[in-house]
Each structure stands twice: as C-alpha cells, then as structure tokens.
C-alpha cells in the first residue's frame, strides 16, 4: 500500500501526471534542502564549523559518489574483468544457472583492451576520434579567432556575433537534420542539397553523403561540429581581444604595421592563454562526440567514433542467463576507459590552470 500513488505518479504517461511528478519532486527536494539548512543552524557547539561545512557539502558529495566516483570505479573494474560465459544453445529453463559456464567477473589480463587495440572496427573508431580531435578544435578556434578580430569594434558587432553564436543553442540532433539537408544527395525527382548544387556549378560531383564513408564522411561530420563550436570560440576570444590594451595596437599602427601584422604580432600573442583554453575545451567535447555520429547513422558507413561504438557495444550486449554482465558491456567499458584516458591530459591541463589561478590570488 505504502507509496503506490507515488509510483503511479512517477510512471504516469499523461502530461499533467508528469508535470505533477516533476513539481512534487522539486518541492520535496527544496524541502529537504531547507531542513538541511535548519540542521546546519542547530549544529552542536563543538566542532561547529567543520560540522556545518560537512552538511553544506553533503548533498554534493552524495550525488558525486553515486553519479561519478562509484560509476568510474565500476567501469574500470568491468573493463578489466571477464564477462559471463554461457553454454551455446542452452535453454535456461527451469534454472537459468545451468546454462552458465563461467560466471565471469575475474581478472582477465587486459583481454578487453587487447580487443580494443586489435579489433579493426575499434581501431577505426579510435582513428576517427583522433581525427575529430585534431581537426575540429583547430579549425573552430581559427574561424572564431579570425571572425572575432574581423568584427571587433565594427558596427553591428553584436548581431554578427549572434549569427555565429546561434548554432550553440541547436542540439546535435537538430544540427544533424540541418546538415543532412545541406548535404542531401541529388534524387531522381530533382531535389538536391545546397552543397551538392553548388559543387555541381563548379563541375564537382556529389558528396555521396553519408555513403561515402570512412574519413571523408568523418570530415563532413566535423564540418557540423565546427559549425556548432565556432560561436563558442568567437565569443570567448572576442572578450579576450577586447582585453588586450588598445595602446598596443595603437603603437603598432604608428610604427606602420598592417592589420594582419598587428593581429599576428600583438593580438594573438596577447591572448594565447585563452586560445589554448578554447582549444582544450572544444577538444574535450570532441573526444566524446556521440550524438552527431549516432543521428547520422555514420557507424553503418564506416564513420564510427569511440563514444558511439561504446554505446553500440552496450546496446547490443544482450542478456546473460546467470544475471552476470555480457561481453558487450565489458567491451563497452573498455572503450569508455579509452575515452577516459584520452581526456586525462586535457582535463589535467585545466586543473593545473585552475590551481595556478587559485594560488596566484
């Protein structure tokens, strides 16, 4: 009897029920936070500050433990241990356990990682992920930098910035539809994407999107990523350019520097730290690229990436008779750990910057 109504509300399929559940949870959550604040004020006198700090931190620590720390340990273990092995063709009735040949969960000497670094598909995905991470951040930053400088102090700067910034609000799924339309293959009925029409003007063949596959397909998808990320680099770099003392460019002008020279010799060196930060940020996003690849269905045409392959492996893992974890899930964990290892240098850089900024305060 207990909380059946709550369970019903949670599983409600009507709009009103869903909103009701959301509002109820938000109210309960804020009530809990309120009670926590009251507790903080009633803290015992001894060790008061420490106890209060602990209560302030408690919700965050609980969520981080559940959502990040626990899961990464589990994924790491999963990537290093064996999967459950079932007897082929065995019917798991009456007891599923009779089909289990090996319950799994044992250290297996990096078998999943060995798979990840020898399997052709996994290697291709790794190669594509590297390609994404080398190209997308570089070009997006370059475009953002040039654009930010070109529109700096020009009339209509805000509007120009809004134009390039807008794609940041568009989901990768939306962007995939938008660019699917741009890349559309010429059909027998006459319709064709704008890009193919324009290629046709200059006598170049259609792009064959997405069937072209491989690195070409990857390049076409990277264009979409750049389209989304250039706005971010424009806005951040534009703010940095404005922070470069105007006297510097003034002096350069008096010395007879061209705008290009002033840009290369004064602006770019002046905002170098910000340029690196922008590239690092876009790199981290690019390493995890999933939505675009998934929505374009690029894995079917040989344009897979690690993050998408990780999901595919997880999704197709199926069930194991004994309730242990199937092979696909362990492999998916190994791919996830691969992404994790690739992200480490970038985030380590960010952490170092942050610590440096704090100690210099």
């Amino acid at each position: 009897m207990r909380v059946n109504w709550l369970r019903d509300l949670a599983h409600s399929s009507s709009a009103a029920g869903k909103f009701g559940f959301a509002i109820l949870i938000v109210v309960l959550f804020f009530a809990a936070m309120g009670i926590l604040l009251l507790l903080i004020d009633r803290a015992p006198k001894t060790g008061r500050e420490k106890f209060q700090a602990f209560l302030f931190l408690l919700p965050a620590l609980v969520l981080l433990a559940i959502g990040l720390v626990g899961p990464i340990i589990k994924t790491a273990v999963s990537s290093l241990t064996s999967a459950e092995k079932d007897r082929a063709g065995c019917v798991p009735i009456p007891t599923p356990a009779r089909c289990v040949e090996d319950a799994g969960g044992k250290w297996n000497n990096f078998a999943h990682f060995r798979w990840a670094f020898t399997d052709n598909d996994a290697l291709v995905s790794l190669g594509h992920t590297m390609m994404w991470t080398l190209i997308a951040p570089t070009i997006a930053t370059l475009i953002g930098l040039t654009y930010a400088y070109a529109i700096d102090k020009v009339r209509g700067e805000g509007f120009a910035k809004a134009l390039i910034f807008l794609p940041m609000a568009v989901s990768f799924v939306g962007a995939a539809v938008i660019w699917g339309l741009m890349y559309q293959q010429p059909s027998e009925n006459g319709a064709s994407g704008l890009i193919n029409v324009m290629l046709n003007w200059v006598g170049l063949g259609p792009l064959n999107f997405p069937t072209v596959g491989g690195w070409r397909l990857t390049l076409l998808m990277i264009v979409v990523m750049i389209w989304i990320q250039a706005g971010f680099s424009t806005v951040v770099l534009s703010a940095a350019i404005k922070a470069v003392p105007a006297e510097l460019s003034e002096a350069a002008k008096i010395d007879g520097a061209t705008p290009g020279q002033a840009f290369r010799r004064i602006i770019v060196p002046g905002i170098r730290p910000t340029i690196i930060v922008v590239m690092v940020t876009i790199s981290v996003a690019t390493l995890k690229v999933f939505d675009l690849v998934r929505t374009f269905g690029a894995d079917q045409y040989g344009g897979d990436t690690l993050a998408n392959m990780m999901y595919t492996e997880f999704r197709t893992a199926g069930l194991s008779a004994g309730g242990g974890t199937p092979l696909g899930e362990h492999r998916s964990a190994a791919l996830a750990m691969e992404i994790f290892l690739l992200v480490i240098p970038f985030v380590a850089y960010q952490v170092r910057q942050m610590v440096k900024a704090r100690t210099s305060q």
Binding site: A10, F29, L38, F54, F56, A150, M354, R358
Partner: protein, 316 residues
C-alpha cells in the same frame, strides 16, 4: 569540462553585446580593420545562418516539393508537416512535454546542491577544503560514457557489494527520475566551479559583518548569498537548460528505450533512424520544433549565458 579564462580565476566583467563608447583607442582599432576582413565576416555570417534558415523553409514544404526541388525555390508551401507531428500517430508533443519535465528538476537540483557546496568551500574554513574543491573540479575528467552505464545499473537494481545490498533500488527505473539523477550528478563539477567563481567575488567584509551581527551560516546562505548569486544562478541555469534539452546520450541510455519518457532529441533521432520513404518529409518540422524552444530561451537570455561562458566554462 571547464576552463579558466581569466588567469586570476575571477569573472571577467565583459559586456558582450553592449556598444562600446567611441574612445580614441576604439577608433584606432577600427582603423585597423579592412574591407577584406569585413567581407570575410559577412561571408561567415551568411554561411552560418543559411543551414538553419534552410531547415525552417523545408519544414513548411510538402512531400512533393521536398523531393523535387531545393528549399530555396519556396515551392509547395504547406502546414501539413506541422499538423502531422503535433497530432495523431506521429505526435511529438508528448516528447516535448518530457523534455520540459526532464529539464526543470535537472536544472534546479544541481544549482541548489552546487550553491550549498560552493558556500562551504568559499566561506567556511576547514582543513582540506582546497583539496575537496580541486577534487570536485577534477571529476570533470569522468566522461559521461564512463559513468552512465553503472548509473543506469544503480537506478535499476541499487548498489551491492558482493551479494549484500547497500542501497536498494529506488524504483526510479523507467521513470524520468533516472534521467534527472544522471543530469544532476553529471552537472555538479561544473556547477560547483561556476558557483565557486562567482562566490569568491563577493567581498569578505559583507560576510564578516553578518557573522558579527550573529547571523548563522544557514541564514547568511539564504538571506545574503542567494540574492547576490542571482546572476550566477541564472547563468548556470540557462547553461544546464541548454545542455539537458539538447542532450541525446544521457536521454537515450537512461530512458532505456521507454518511449513514454524519451525526450525530444531521442524522439527526433528515432524518427530519422526509423523512417525511410513515407514520413521523411516530417523530419524537418520535427527537428525545428525540437530546436525552437532552446533557441528562444537562448536568444532571450543570451546575456546570462555569455556571462557564464566567460566566467570560465562550457561543458560537453
């Protein structure tokens, strides 16, 4: 992920869209721009806008038109696509409702939790607090790909060590609760970082005065911090709104194929994947409906968003 733009770690007070006064320095800088640069800027501006404009036009064209000509011909304009995706078998409005239902708690919960954590990290002196802060910040290193599957298992069956149950299943499986939990957890490192940055800006004297007047930490947090933090809360709120609304990965994994709770991104993604031939003409309309709400929010609240961005953060 997160970035520190200002080397001092503080928030650059950088009004982005405000017209600058025409100072002497400003005029000099303007003198440095040239027609080539302006032409380049114009080109980029057009190239960046055309794709979305194309989607908008295409979404209003019928099947015939979409198949036989490009959107720039403006042929075969109709409202049928929108009618079809907002009613009947292919109705995607329930998924928009799901997205709204997902996004509200998924934005509010981490904001509140992060504000409290940041308060302790900035204003209460205790040993190891710098380490805790750096550790929370460093947790951004965990890619969603690593965290999401174990979190799903946790939601479905609770936490166990061996055969001992530590935390029982919370009955969130198959509900939007699972998606909230995931987004709330994943947002925290960034949220704590942002709140910490903003909170460090508040003058210490203010707090000390309140302490001398006998205010408790709870009171200071509620009555002084929260009102002062409003811009930061707004900045992170819009951030998280866009992130959650536009997310496909967390939504697709945590909804576990349950169409009843799938957000709009998952619905559009499935529509693309499962439709060949008839029905494909609906994709532009569905996609446009999925991006219109974040676009409006984004345009209306861009100021806050940019502020959050410049205070050192974007996530992915």
């Amino acid at each position: 992920m997160s970035i520190a733009i200002d080397p001092s770690g503080s928030t650059p007070a950088m009004p982005v869209d405000e017209p600058r006064p025409a100072t002497a320095a400003g005029r000099v800088r303007k003198g440095l721009t040239n027609p080539v640069a302006s032409g380049f800027a114009l080109l980029i501006g057009i190239v960046w806008t055309i794709p979305t404009a194309g989607l908008l036009v295409q979404s209003f064209r019928g099947r015939e038109g979409q198949q036989s000509s490009g959107w720039w011909t403006f042929k075969d304009l109709t409202l049928d696509n929108y009618r079809e995706v907002t009613s009947g078998a292919r109705n995607i409005l329930p998924n928009i409702v799901n997205s709204i239902v997902i996004v509200i708690p998924a934005a509010l919960i981490p904001i509140a939790v992060a504000a409290m954590a940041a308060y302790a990290l900035v204003w209460i002196d205790f040993r190891g607090r710098d380490w805790i802060y750096v550790a929370i910040f460093a947790l951004q290193i965990v890619p969603l790909q690593v965290a999401v599957v174990p979190l799903l298992r946790f939601v479905v069956s609770g936490a166990h060590v061996g055969s001992t149950t530590i935390i029982p299943s919370m009955g969130l499986s198959g509900t939007v609760g699972a998606i909230w939990l995931a987004h709330a957890c994943f947002a925290l490192p960034l949220a704590v970082f942002l709140m910490h940055n903003f909170m460090s800006e508040i003058p210490r004297d203010l707090l000390e005065a309140a302490r001398i007047d006998g205010a408790s930490h709870g009171q200071i947090f509620r009555q002084i911090m929260l009102p002062l933090l409003r811009p930061a809360l707004a900045a992170f709120g819009i951030f998280q709104f866009l992130w959650v609304w536009n997310d496909l990965f967390v939504g697709i994994v945590m909804s576990g194929g349950n169409g009843d709770i799938a957000p709009i991104t998952v619905a559009v993604s499935l529509l693309i994947g499962n439709t060949s031939g008839a029905g494909r003409e609906l994709i532009p309309a569905a996609a446009f409906l999925s991006i219109i709400i974040p676009l409006i929010v984004f345009i209306a609240l861009q100021r806050f968003f940019v502020r959050g961005l410049l205070s050192g953060s974007v996530k992915g």
